[in-house]
C-alpha cells in the first residue's frame, strides 16, 4: 500500500539545510494501523507529508498505492489526495463553514450528490460523537471537538489511507485515548490503512499496535503489534 525505499528528505531554508529524514525503509500494508512516535521535530510529520504529496523525497522512492510519487503529474495529485484522509496537527478547518459544511467538503470535491452528502455527513458526525454540532462554526468548538470534526472530514469519503498528525496534541489524556480508540475503530471496521504520528508515547503504547520510533530523522524502532492486556485497556479508560 505504502512503501519507503531509502528515502532521504532535506529541506532547504534561506541559510540552512535541514535533514528531515535519513535513509527510511518502510512498508505499510493494506488495512494496517501504525503509530509513529518520537520527539517534536524528529521527522514524523515529514514522513506523512511524503505520503500525501505535500513534500517530495530528496533521494529514494516513496510508493503510494503502488505508484512512485514522482510519477504523479501535478493535476493528478488532487485525485490521489481524495483517497487519503488527513487529520492535520493544526486541524485546518474552514473557519467560515459549519461543522456540516466542513465535513461535507471532501464529498463536494468528488461531486457527490446532495442526497449522498446528507446521508454520509450525519453518519460520520455520529461516529465521532458530534451529531449535535452540525450547524456550529469551528470557532465555537473545543479543541477535542475540532479534532473530531477533522477526523470526520478525513474519513467521510472512505479513504484507503488515513494519516493523523498529532491527533492527540493539546488534548487531555481521556480525550486522547478516545481519539486513539476512534482511529483504531476506523481501521478495524473500515479496513483503512491508518498511520498516526504522535509524541504521546504513553497513550499510543497502550494500543499494542505496530509502533515506529523516529529519532534524529532516522527510524530507530519498528516494533510489531503485540497482544494487549486488560490492564492496557483499563489504564486507557
Amino acid at each position: 500500500m505504502i512503501s519507503f525505499q531509502r528515502v532521504h528528505l532535506v529541506y532547504h531554508n534561506e541559510r540552512d539545510r535541514v535533514v528531515a529524514l535519513k535513509n527510511v525503509n518502510l512498508e505499510f500494508n493494506k488495512g494496517e494501523i501504525c503509530f509513529i512516535v518520537g520527539p517534536t521535530g524528529c521527522g514524523k510529520s515529514s514522513l506523512l507529508k511524503l505520503i500525501y504529496l505535500d513534500s517530495m523525497p530528496s533521494r529514494g522512492r516513496v510508493l503510494v498505492l503502488g505508484r512512485d510519487t514522482y510519477d504523479f503529474r501535478e493535476r493528478e495529485i488532487p485525485y490521489l489526495r481524495r483517497k487519503i484522509g488527513v487529520v492535520f496537527q493544526d486541524f485546518r478547518l474552514l473557519q467560515t463553514k459549519t461543522v456540516y459544511e466542513n465535513v461535507a467538503y471532501p464529498l463536494e470535491v468528488i461531486g457527490a450528490s446532495k442526497y449522498e452528502i446528507s446521508r454520509r455527513v450525519p453518519q460520520v458526525l455520529d461516529l465521532v460523537g458530534l451529531a449535535d454540532k452540525i450547524d456550529t462554526l469551528p470557532g465555537s468548538l473545543s479543541k477535542g471537538q475540532e479534532q473530531r470534526v477533522v477526523i470526520a472530514r478525513s474519513i467521510v469519503n472512505d479513504p484507503l489511507i488515513l494519516l493523523a498528525d498529532e491527533p492527540t496534541g493539546n488534548l487531555d489524556p481521556d480525550t486522547s485515548w478516545d481519539i486513539i480508540k476512534l482511529l483504531i475503530d476506523i481501521q478495524t471496521t473500515r479496513g483503512t490503512t491508518v498511520l498516526v504520528a504522535s509524541h504521546d508515547m504513553a497513550t499510543v503504547d497502550r494500543s499494542g499496535k505496530r509502533l515506529l520510533r523516529i529519532e534524529d530523522s532516522e527510524v530507530v524502532i519498528d516494533r510489531a503489534p503485540r497482544v494487549i492486556t486488560c490492564s492496557d485497556l483499563k489504564e486507557g479508560e
Binding site: 500525501y52 501535478e74 495529485i77 488532487p78 481524495r82 485546518r92 467560515t96 463536494e108 470535491v109
Partner: protein
C-alpha cells in the same frame, strides 16, 4: 463549472455573507475606484464631444465671381462635391447672406436687391478638418472663385489644441483605469490572503485548482459588478443633474453629451471594467497561492 455550479454559487453566498466586513470593504473599494474612472470618462467624452463640435464647424467659404450665372455656380458646386474629402456644399445667395447678416447683427439694413454688396458664396464642409488646406487648393484651381476664406492657421492651432486636450483626457482615463485595476486587485488580494490557509486546506483534501478558483472568481465578479452598478448610478445621476443645470444656464457654451447616452456608456464601460478587474484580481491572487501550495 458544470455539475458544481450550484455548489459554487452556494460557496459564493457563504463567503460573502459570513465575511460581511471583508465583503463591504472590497465592494466599497471597487465603488470608489470605479467612481473616479466614471468621472474621468465623463470628462473625456465631453472633451471629445466639444472638440468634435468645434472642428465640425470648420468650413471654407468660397466667394463666387459676381459675373458668373446660376448654371455655372451649380456646376461649380457639383465639381466641389466630387472632391472625396468634401462632406457638404451649400450655396448662399446674396439675399440669404444679407438676411443672415441682419439676423446676426440684429439690425435692419433696409436695402433693395440691387444695392446688396454681398457676393454669392459656397459654404464647404469637409469630413476631416485636417484636409481643409488640400481641399481649398483644389477649389482654387477650379476657377469661378473670387476669394477663399478658411483661416488655415486658426484651424491648425485648433486641431493641435484639440489633439493635446484629447490626448490628456485619454491619458487621464488610462491612469484612472490602471489605478482602479490595482486598487481593486489589491483589495481582492487582501480578501484572498485572509483565506490563504483555506485554499491550502482545500488543496490538501483533494480539491482541484479550478474547484478552488471558481468561487473566488465569482466573488471577484460580484465585487466588480456591485462596484460598477453603484458607481455608475452615482456618476450618471450626478451627470444628469449637472448637465441639466448647465443646459439651463449656459446652453451655448458647452455642448454636453446627452445624459441618457452618457449613462449607457458609463454603465457599459464601468460594468465591463469592474467585471474584468474583479476576475483578474481573483484569478491572479488565487493562482499565486495555488502555485505556492504546489511547490
Amino acid at each position: 463549472m458544470g455539475r458544481y455550479t450550484f455548489f459554487f454559487f452556494r460557496e459564493l453566498w457563504i463567503n460573502l455573507s459570513r465575511n460581511p466586513l471583508m465583503t463591504a470593504a472590497a465592494a466599497g473599494t471597487s465603488v470608489v475606484s470605479l467612481l473616479t474612472l466614471g468621472i474621468s470618462l465623463i470628462l473625456v467624452y465631453n472633451i471629445n464631444n466639444l472638440s468634435g463640435e468645434i472642428t465640425s464647424q470648420v468650413e471654407i467659404r468660397a466667394f463666387v465671381k459676381k459675373d458668373i450665372g446660376n448654371y455655372q455656380i451649380k456646376s461649380l458646386q457639383d465639381k466641389i462635391m466630387k472632391i472625396p474629402q468634401v462632406r457638404r456644399v451649400e450655396f448662399i445667395s446674396p439675399d440669404r447672406a444679407l438676411d443672415k447678416l441682419q439676423e446676426d447683427l440684429n439690425i435692419d439694413l433696409d436695402m433693395g436687391p440691387e444695392e446688396n454688396p454681398l457676393p454669392p458664396s459656397l459654404v464647404i464642409r469637409v469630413n476631416d478638418p485636417r484636409q481643409i488646406g488640400a481641399v481649398a487648393d483644389q477649389i482654387k484651381e477650379m476657377g469661378g472663385v473670387e476669394e477663399l476664406l478658411y483661416g488655415e492657421s486658426i484651424i491648425r492651432s485648433l486641431l493641435a489644441v484639440s489633439f493635446v486636450v484629447k490626448s490628456l483626457g485619454y491619458l487621464m482615463t488610462m491612469l484612472m483605469a490602471i489605478g482602479a485595476l490595482f486598487t481593486i486587485m489589491n483589495t481582492i488580494r487582501l480578501t484572498v490572503i485572509a483565506r490563504r490557509n483555506e485554499i491550502r486546506t482545500m488543496q490538501l483534501v483533494g480539491a482541484t485548482s479550478w474547484f478552488i478558483r471558481w468561487p473566488f472568481l465569482l466573488e471577484g465578479m460580484v465585487f466588480g459588478t456591485v462596484g460598477a452598478l453603484i458607481s455608475a448610478l452615482f456618476v450618471s445621476s450626478g451627470y444628469f443633474l449637472l448637465s441639466a443645470k448647465i443646459h439651463d444656464s449656459l446652453p451655448f457654451v458647452f455642448p454636453l453629451v446627452d445624459s441618457g447616452a452618457m449613462s449607457r456608456i458609463i454603465l457599459f464601460i464601468l460594468l465591463l471594467s469592474g467585471i474584468v478587474m474583479g476576475l483578474a484580481g481573483s484569478y491572479i491572487s488565487v493562482s499565486k497561492f495555488l502555485s505556492e501550495g504546489n511547490e
